[in-house]
Amino acid sequence: MTTLRAGRLELEVLRRGKGAPILVIHGVNPISSHAPFVDRLAEYGEVIAPSHPGFGASERPYDFDTMYDLVNLYLDVLDAIPAERVTVIGLSFGGWIAAELAVTGARKIDRLILADPVGIKIGGREERDIVHFFNTSPDELIRRSWADPSLRPDGVYALGWQATITDAMTDAEMVALARNWDSLCLYAWKPHMYNPQLAYWLRRIVVPTLVLWGDHDRIVTPSYGRAYADLIPGARFELIPNAGHHPDLEQPEAFVEQVVRFMGKDASR
């Protein structure tokens, strides 16, 4: 296992490619080495994708259980990356972490890309902005989080992963999924997947920001995404066609093309 020392913690980390660092902050499960977007993105820089404490093989200290802990941990992660500038990509729950991280004014962040992030409250008190991750049937989560569930890459687990469990899986894979799910719940059960204060403070984000959204995302809809982008000064909002809540997994080429273009690189290579 490759690890990354961040402050007091030793995190499991997926590293791929060389060059300017691209920090990927994962969502419901750590970034899989089978995810096709990883190799494509690694052509444009070094992909660095740690597993949050309590996910994958990363340890979680007993009292480490809030978004506050995760944000400060990712400040440690930024410190641990030697480069002066880091592109930060946050996916789903990891998009929430990335947005909080950028609100702190971390100077190392070069550009911020949020893909279908959760983390803020937009609608009225009787409107649910974010489908409940833990209290929705796995089948329904899959229906809502993919434009076409058959496009799910083998060996990759996203929202609704429970419905894709087979007896062919190893015990170790099941244990890892359970551990990830427990940890996510610890961090985000209540308020479910958002910080009531964050929408107000998104105005503090000063780095160039791209908000990407799967046009078929029915976990958090594109209209929520537009509102999210509107709260970040100067942010661009782009839809990714034929993708749900995980455009990185469902449309990896389009996802990487958008990211790379935003990074100011030639995406045609």
Binding site: D63, D65, F134, N135, T136, S137, P138, Q162, I165, D167, D171, M174, V175, A176, L177, A178, R179, W181, D182, L184, C185, L186, W189, K190
Partner: protein
Amino acid sequence: MTDMELWNHCENPYPFVPAEVLDAAEAARASLPNKYCEPEIAARLYDEVFEEYRLCDDIGLHIVTNEHHSGINNLWAASPVITGIVAQMTSKVRILSLGTLITVRPDPVRVATEYATIDVISRGRLDIGFVKSGATEMVSGDANPMRIREREWEAIDLIEKSLTSHDGPFSWEGKFFSHPHVNIWPRPYQSPRPDFWAATSDLPTCAELGRRGIVNTLLFGGYTRTKLAFDTYKQARAAIGLPKPKEDRFSYLAFCYVGDTDEEAFRIGQKIPWFLTVSIKSAPQMSKFQPGQLPPEMVPGAWRGGASKRPNNLNVENLVSQGLMFAGNPDTVVKQIKEFRRRVGGVGRIIMMTRQGLVTHAEAMKSFNLAAKEVLPRLQGLEPIDDEAVQRAAAE
């Protein structure tokens, strides 16, 4: 010598939702619309069960209340409310709240206040029980299902300190609860506090109950799991030099029906397992896939094919043979309870789940009368269990 006690545990189920509605629903708890709960029928059910409690008070069966939410299995949605009513309408028997869901309730101090009030109203007949809560309750109560064991213990500690502090406000700043000014009124009637019970078969929790002398209740543990839990309790006490616990520290909850004949008891008793066959139906996200339900290393067994199917072959004979039910004429039930007590190494308090499922009010009243008059007297003055003989029998 052990004088055993019999307790009546009724969850006041609501078995009147049409089968086609339940078959189509993802769960019989938590998400079933309350349009299927007819208030007039619920009012009649409350009346009937309260009448059963009055009978229990007259004939010497102690009373257990509990709470579950948003489902057909239980109309006791707030145990302290119901327990307060029972405290006022009874005068002799003990009352156990098993319990309000302290892992769901935000303020243990409020819980302590409610229980102290009930203890005073009942003039010291209250026992306080703690349960960790099931997965559907985390949804109904919007409580984080992670770390409920730690949260439960901190709540118990804060409730205990609230009940036993009498010299003005104290402050509490814990991991899960903070309350800078705790000073409950009234203080409890019993001193130093009402007895505590907890329902669990989780072995580390059983050990902690042992160290604290809290009554350990097993729900449908059967012979093996119950014995393991009670042994763990005893060993934890022995390990730190505490005296051997009396049998009143051990309690067992099982289905129970006492009839005039075995045939009658088995026939009526067959209505009780509705609790397991119908009322427990629960969506996967509210059961095996809810975070925190099992330690991660144990999930493969629960997640693989064939696991956690709803039981449907629970006939009375099977349940009796597994020690999950006591049923028969009074002679038969006395024998079953004595045999259970022997095989688990001693248990002083049997909690009978009788008014359950489709059992009627009249049928419940009949069983309670027989239990109090024909069974209970024969469970008095029992010889101590020879622990070593039980161990030898188990080894053989």
